[in-house]
Structure formats: structure tokens, C-alpha cells
């Protein structure tokens, strides 16, 4: 049967199981939007900015594990997606983004609203396509979904010239995808797996470092089984939060620049570090030459380029981490080691570090501490909310003071650090998980980067909660200025503008404010009770509060600074670039 390009596209999306699309219309995608007008099985959520559409699709993907989908127009519509695509790319999130393009005849002529989006997004997509022939459309869509969601996932962009979606062709659904240059390795090498099991058996002070790959591959259960089977303490990266239960006795929380004292100490003191689905980002390793100096490193990852990119590796295992962990577990279980006894002194040492310097802050009766807000959100949501974050101090406090027991509970822009990510991501997460409590822990700076999405949340009756830790500053940058730039607060003061309660109300959302510590809990409880509208909670917090511990840039991860050291001469804290 002959179909229009737009009809073929929507039929392909149905066959891929797509239920929701985030998008924004424009001239060259009119044919697609026209087909969507009568479409019953697929809902398009109109955001108020294309960046919001991509972050929403990203939040949808992170919360559900399914591929997020966007449709935008050419030129400015397409270029507005770039930050969202780069964000997804850095964190390996499966997205398929469709951008309209001027008719093939006009490509290259600087036509109205033409942008070379394939060229622009080449370095920040896993792959991208320009469909020049309508007969390639179905196969291209099929390939794009396959590439986005398999191997190390990532965003794929498909550029669709107007004449391709307007034209007609016979619809042929390719039952199979075969791409000769794309064959991810899913199973670890047998010998490497035996080697890994042996190294684990021999080690006295092992540490598991679990990253975003654990969440992406669905390997949280296997990580827990390995940790418990061989009694290995676990630290997670920012992206790995939820990949191992934060409240587990073997959990050491997050490591790295704002990691816990005990996680960083343990990594530096370990004799074996098992990196699972991690890429050893500089925010995690600190100075690489001083990272885990006494440890042999096992690195398990599906992407061979991650291995030996940043740190030396003694045993690489390329494969899907879930498969690899299952295979390692088999060998470990055959060994029947008396692990509890063997690891007793190591766990004791870690407990001592936990007692020596736990994550902490000083509660104040008069002024709200941001950490207190996060703790209360944890308490009142009973640890079961989906938490999205913006970027800055808010993100780090959300990572430190909320314990994530389940994967896909933590949605944060780790690799790119995109301010403005959290709120649209929360909208996407709420659409993916309608019954769940979704909270964006935000900063007063970041929330303003995609605040227009309030309209999207209101119109779609999404009860997303936004907790603004309102410190009147671009707080994380201010923290660096205070510590390393002699308190010269150059252009980081926001002056507590706008009035977020009024902004919320103007959009038809609910706005609540807490100024004193006793008001925090009632505000959160009230916000959580609202089920038909978004809520902004404006928490006026202590602007002086800083995120600790902190590893200055260029330092080793056990060279942490703490709250009490503030009084020491600033020289000592000088950052090494």
C-alpha cells in the first residue's frame, strides 16, 4: 500500500512501541504533525521549547528504560535540541530525535530555516542520518531505534527533508536490522572472567565502583549479588546512584569530587577496584596519577573506548555488565570462599572511616539549611520518589542526602552538567511513570533555564514537584569563588528574583514558600498531596552553605577539604587547574 512519508514514519514509531513523543511544530514538519492530529496510539506532548522536549524525552527514557522520542522543525528548532542531545550523549541515554529539514532540492542553498543539523550533531550523537530517499525511511527509523537502544546506548538523530515526509511510497517494514559496522560485544571473554573471579578471591581490600552502565544494563541485582556473595563494599558514581541500594550495609555512597570521605578513602586504600559500567571521569578520579594507587583495576564495560582512556587497567572485560557479572558470579559461587571472615578487618576499617567523618551539616533553628530540605524530602517520600536534579550545589546535596535504593530513581545530568535539565526531565519521568512521585531538586539559577515548561506541566496536569533550594546565587560557582577566588563574587548573585511563588501561580501551578526551618515539612507535605498540578516549593536557604567534602580540581581524591577547614588560610585550598 502506498503511504505518505509522514504516515510511514508514524507507522514505524508504532511498530517500535512508541507511546509518547515530545515535540514542537514548524513549517517543514507540518506533514508529520498533520498525521499526528488523528493518531490515537501515540500522544505528542507539546513542550514550550525544543530543549525542553529533548530533556523530557531523556527523563522519560531514564525513568522507564525505553527510548525517548522527539520531533522538531528545521533550523532553530533543530539547533535548540543540541544541548539536550549532548546531555543524553554524555550520559548514554537512548533517544531518537527527528528534525525537519528543508526540501532535498534546497539543501545547501542557505534556504529559509536551513541548518546543517547532521553536521552540527555529528560529534554529540551515537549516529545520525539524513534521509534523502523516501524508500530509505522505514529502514532508517528501524536502524536508529536499534542503534539508540543497544550496545552503549545514546541519541540518534534523523533529519527529514520536507519532500521526504510529503512524498509517497510503498511501506515496507524491515523485519530485521543488520548493520555490518555495528556489532557490540555482549559477553565477556571467558578467560578474563575467570581471571576477574580469581583477582576478587585473592583481594583483601576490594571495592566495587558502580556507574551509570549498571543502571543502563539493568544489572543492579547482579551488583548486589556480587557484593553480597563476596562481601565487597560498594561505592557508586554520580551516574550510578540507585545502581546499588544507598541504604545497604555495604554501601559507601558516592565517590569523587563531592563523594563521601569513606568512599574516597576506601578507593585510595583498596587493593582491588572493580569498575562496573564506569568511564573514570575526572570528577571521579581526581588527579589520575594518584588514583587508587595500591589497587589492581578490573574494568567491566560494554564500550571498549572507555577502557584505558583515563586510567590504567589491569584486567579489562568488554561486555554487557549484566552478562559479565552473572558469569563472574558463577565462578565466585563455585569458590565457596569464607568472605565475611576474610573481609572483616576491611569492613571494620570502613566503618571506622564512616564514624570518623560521616556526611553531615549543622542544623540551624533560624535559617533553612539546604541539606535539611533534601533530608526531609527523603523522609517524607520514604525514599521512593524519582528525583531529578538541576546542576550545582542542589545536585550534589540531592546526591548526598537522599538515599537511592532503586535504579532509575535518580535522573541527573552527570557528564555534561546541564543546568535546566531537571525540570523538563521530571515532566518526561512523570509521563513515563504517572503513578509515581517525581521531584526536581532545583537551584534558583537552573530552574530559570527551562521555567517555560511550567506550561507543559500545567496543561498536561502533571503533579511534578519542584523544590527550589533558593540561595540567591549561582551557588556552586560562588562556592569556588569563595574558596579559590578570595570571595570575589563576580556575576554569581541572582538577587532572589523572580518571585517563584508568583511565577508558579501565573502559570496556573501551585506556589509554596518556606522561610523558616519549621515551615519545611508542612510545605513538602502539602506539595506532595497535590495530584493534578505542578508545584513549586521555594525554600529560602542559607546562601553561605557549601558542599562538602570537596576535592579541589587537580588534587587526589583523598585530599578532601571539610567544613571545619574553612577557617584555615585560603592558600592551602588553592585549586590546581
Amino acid at each position: 500500500m502506498k503511504m505518505s512519508g509522514a504516515e510511514i514514519l508514524i507507522e514505524c514509531l508504532k511498530r517500535e512501541g512508541v507511546k509518547h513523543i515530545f515535540g514542537y511544530p514548524g513549517g517543514v514538519v507540518l506533514n508529520i504533525f498533520d498525521v499526528l492530529y488523528d493518531e490515537k496510539d501515540i500522544e505528542l506532548i507539546l513542550t514550550r521549547h525544543e530543549q525542553g522536549a529533548v530533556h523530557a524525552a531523556d527523563g522519560y527514557a531514564r525513568a522507564s528504560g525505553r527510548t525517548g522520542v522527539c520531533i522538531v522543525t528545521s533550523g532553530p528548532g533543530a539547533t535548540n535540541t543540541v544541548t539536550g542531545i549532548a546531555t543524553a550523549s554524555m550520559d548514554s541515554i537512548p533517544l531518537v530525535v527527528f528534525s525537519g529539514q528543508v526540501p532535498t532540492m534546497l539543501i545547501g542553498n542557505d534556504a529559509f530555516q536551513e541548518a546543517d543539523i547532521v553536521g552540527i550533531t555529528r560529534p554529540c550523537t551515537k549516529h545520525n542520518y539524513l534521509v534523502k530517499d523516501i524508500n530509505d525511511l522505514a529502514r532508517t527509523v528501524r536502524e536508529a531505534f536499534h542503534i539508540a537502544s543497544t550496545g552503549r546506548p545514546g541519541p540518534v538523530l534523523i533529519d527529514l527533508p520536507k519532500d521526504v515526509t510529503a512524498g509517497t511510497a510503498e511501506f515496507k517494514w524491515p523485519e530485521q536490522v543488520s548493520i555490518r559496522g555495528y556489532n557490540p560485544t555482549y559477553h565477556g571473554n571467558k578467560w578474563m572472567i575467570r581471571q576477574a573471579a580469581q583477582m576478587i578471591a585473592k583481594s583483601k581490600k576490594p571495592v566495587i565502583m558502580a556507574g551509570g552502565g549498571v543502571v543502563l544494563s539493568g544489572a543492579a541485582k547482579e551488583v548486589k549479588e556480587l557484593a553480597e556473595a563476596a562481601t565487597i563494599p560498594v561505592t557508586t558514581t554520580l551516574m550510578g546512584l540507585g545502581g546499588f541500594p544507598g541504604s545497604h550495609r555495604l554501601s559507601m555512597g558516592m565517590l569523587g569530587m563531592h563523594g563521601t570521605y569513606y568512599a574516597n578513602r576506601a578507593v585510595q586504600d583498596a587493593d582491588l577496584l572493580i569498575g562496573i559500567g564506569v568511564r573514570f571521569d575526572d570528577r571521579v578520579t581526581g588527579r589520575t596519577s594518584a588514583f587508587a594507587p595500591g589497587a589492581k583495576i578490573i574494568h567491566i564495560d560494554i564500550d571498549p573506548t572507555s577502557i584505558r582512556k583515563n586510567v590504567r587497567v589491569d584486567l579489562p572485560v568488554v561486555g554487557d555488565v549484566r552478562n559479565v557479572l552473572r558469569d563472574i558470579l558463577k565462578v565466585i559461587r563455585e569458590q565457596k570462599g569464607q568472605w565475611e571472615a576474610v573481609r572483616k578487618s576491611w569492613l571494620k576499617q570502613i566503618d571506622a572511616w564512616k564514624k570518623e567523618k560521616p556526611l553531615s551539616y549543622t542544623f540551624d533553628k533560624k535559617i533553612i539549611k539546604p541539606e535539611f530540605v533534601v533530608e526531609k524530602i527523603y523522609e517524607i517520600s520514604r525514599g521512593r520518589a524519582i528525583i531529578c536534579t538541576e546542576v550545582g550545589q542542589n545536585q550534589m546535596w540531592a546526591a548526598q542526602f537522599y538515599k537511592y535504593d532503586e535504579p532509575r530513581q535518580w535522573l541527573s545530568s552527570g557528564g555534561l552538567g546541564t543546568m535546566g535539565y531537571g525540570f523538563p526531565a521530571a515532566i518526561g519521568a512523570q509521563i513515563a511513570c504517572p503513578g509515581k512521585l517525581v521531584v526536581d531538586i532545583a537551584g534558583d539559577g537552573s530552574i530559570q533555564m527551562n521555567i517555560q515548561e511550567l506550561a507543559t506541566a500545567v496543561v498536561n496536569r502533571l503533579p511534578v514537584k519542584v523544590a527550589i533550594l533558593n540561595n540567591g546565587y549561582l551557588g556552586m560557582v560562588r562556592q569556588w569563588q569563595e574558596l579559590f577566588f578570595r570571595e570575589r563574587y563576580s556575576h554569581t548573585r541572582l538577587d532572589t528574583v523572580p518571585d517563584f511563588v508568583k511565577v508558579a501561580e501565573a502559570y496556573g501551578a501551585v506556589g509554596l514558600r518556606a522561610v523558616k526551618p519549621p515551615e519545611v515539612e508542612p510545605v513538602i507535605r502539602e506539595a506532595f498531596s497535590i495530584k493534578d498540578r505542578p508545584v513549586f516549593m521555594d525554600f529560602i536557604v542559607d546562601w553561605r552553605e557549601k558542599v562538602f567534602p570537596m576535592v579541589p580540581a587537580g588534587a587526589a581524591i583523598d585530599e578532601m577539604i571539610f567544613d571545619e577547614e574553612e577557617k584555615k588560610p585560603a592558600k592551602k585550598l588553592k585549586a590546581v587547574k
Binding site: 555529528r122 560529534p123 551515537k126 542503534i147 555490518r180 559496522g181 571498549p304 573506548t305 584505558r308
Partner: protein, 162 residues
């Protein structure tokens, strides 16, 4: 270390910029790059000469492999192979030096592909050493212009290309 890497790619538009973009975006170095179709018209072969320590070259080959349009990557470092490059050199020897220059070209099995009142253009094919030697010897005669194709390489018979 200098490595010659051959990259089998899909013969599609945009592939060259994916490969060159990878090098520029990650700060890898390209000394030369040559591309052409293969017997199978759907496939092109790129030969890239690059430099870097082991870790960098390992990253380069892995990153190339990661590109969806890349089918196969061979680093000729550990492969017994033949490599060739072609150079066209336009030289302007003085009248008295002309015959000496032509003899030199002949020794190197160069072919004169063009000549005029003032210049000869020589085509010379060979491996890196031969070409470098010829250029050095010809330099005193006055090189006006020169272009090179970039290196191509092929494995010798019996060598398994993995």
C-alpha cells in the same frame, strides 16, 4: 610512533567527515589520509597515517571501530605489509643540471609526466624511505611545487587481517 591504519567504511556521504571529525574532536593527529572505492562499490577504504604513543593509537583504533559506518580497522604496525605513496614534483633545474637531474629521476624510476621550457614534472612512487630520499636529492635542483597522494597500504599474502 607513526602508524598506518586502514579503515574500511561504508561508501556513503558524510563518512569522511565522521572520521576526520573524530580525529580533530579528540585531538588526534592526521599526517595523511587517502580514500578510494574498493572492488565492492558499497565500501571505501581509507588509509590514515597518524602518530601517537600506544595508548593514543589504541584509542584511535577503538574510536574508529565505534563509528557505525566503520566496518573494519587494521593497524599495519604489527602486520607484514606493502605501502606506497605517489608524489608529483615540479622541478626547475638550471640548464647545465638538466641531464644530471633526469638521470637521478631515472635511478629512482621516476617518470617525467610533463616538461616545459623551465620545468620537469616527475612522478615518483615508493615507500616512505624512497620518497624521502628522492626529495632530499632533488631539493638542490629547485623544487617549484609538489603534491603527494598520501600513503596506501596492503597486507602481504598469507597475512591474516584481523
Amino acid at each position: 610512533m607513526r602508524h598506518t591504519i586502514s579503515v574500511l567504511v561504508e561508501n556513503k556521504f558524510g563518512v569522511l567527515s565522521r572520521v576526520s571529525g573524530l580525529f580533530s574532536g579528540r585531538g588526534f593527529n592526521i599526517e595523511s589520509l587517502s580514500v578510494g572505492e574498493t572492488i565492492d562499490r558499497s565500501v571505501s577504504l581509507m588509509t590514515i597515517v597518524t602518530t601517537g604513543d600506544d595508548q593514543i593509537v589504541e584509542q584511535i583504533t577503538k574510536q574508529l571501530n565505534k563509528l557505525i559506518d566503520v566496518i573494519k580497522v587494521v593497524d599495519f604496525m604489527d602486520v607484514d605489509h606493502v605501502e606506497r605513496e605517489m608524489v608529483l614534483i615540479k622541478v626547475a633545474p638550471r640548464k647545465n643540471d638538466k641531464s644530471e637531474f633526469l638521470k637521478l629521476a631515472e635511478i629512482f624510476r621516476g617518470r617525467i609526466v610533463d616538461s616545459g621550457p623551465a620545468t620537469f614534472t616527475v612522478e615518483i612512487t615508493g615507500d616512505e624511505k624512497k620518497i624521502a630520499a628522492f626529495i632530499e636529492l632533488v631539493r638542490p635542483y629547485g623544487i617549484k611545487e609538489f603534491v603527494r597522494t598520501g600513503k596506501v597500504a596492503i597486507a602481504r599474502e598469507g597475512v591474516k587481517r584481523t
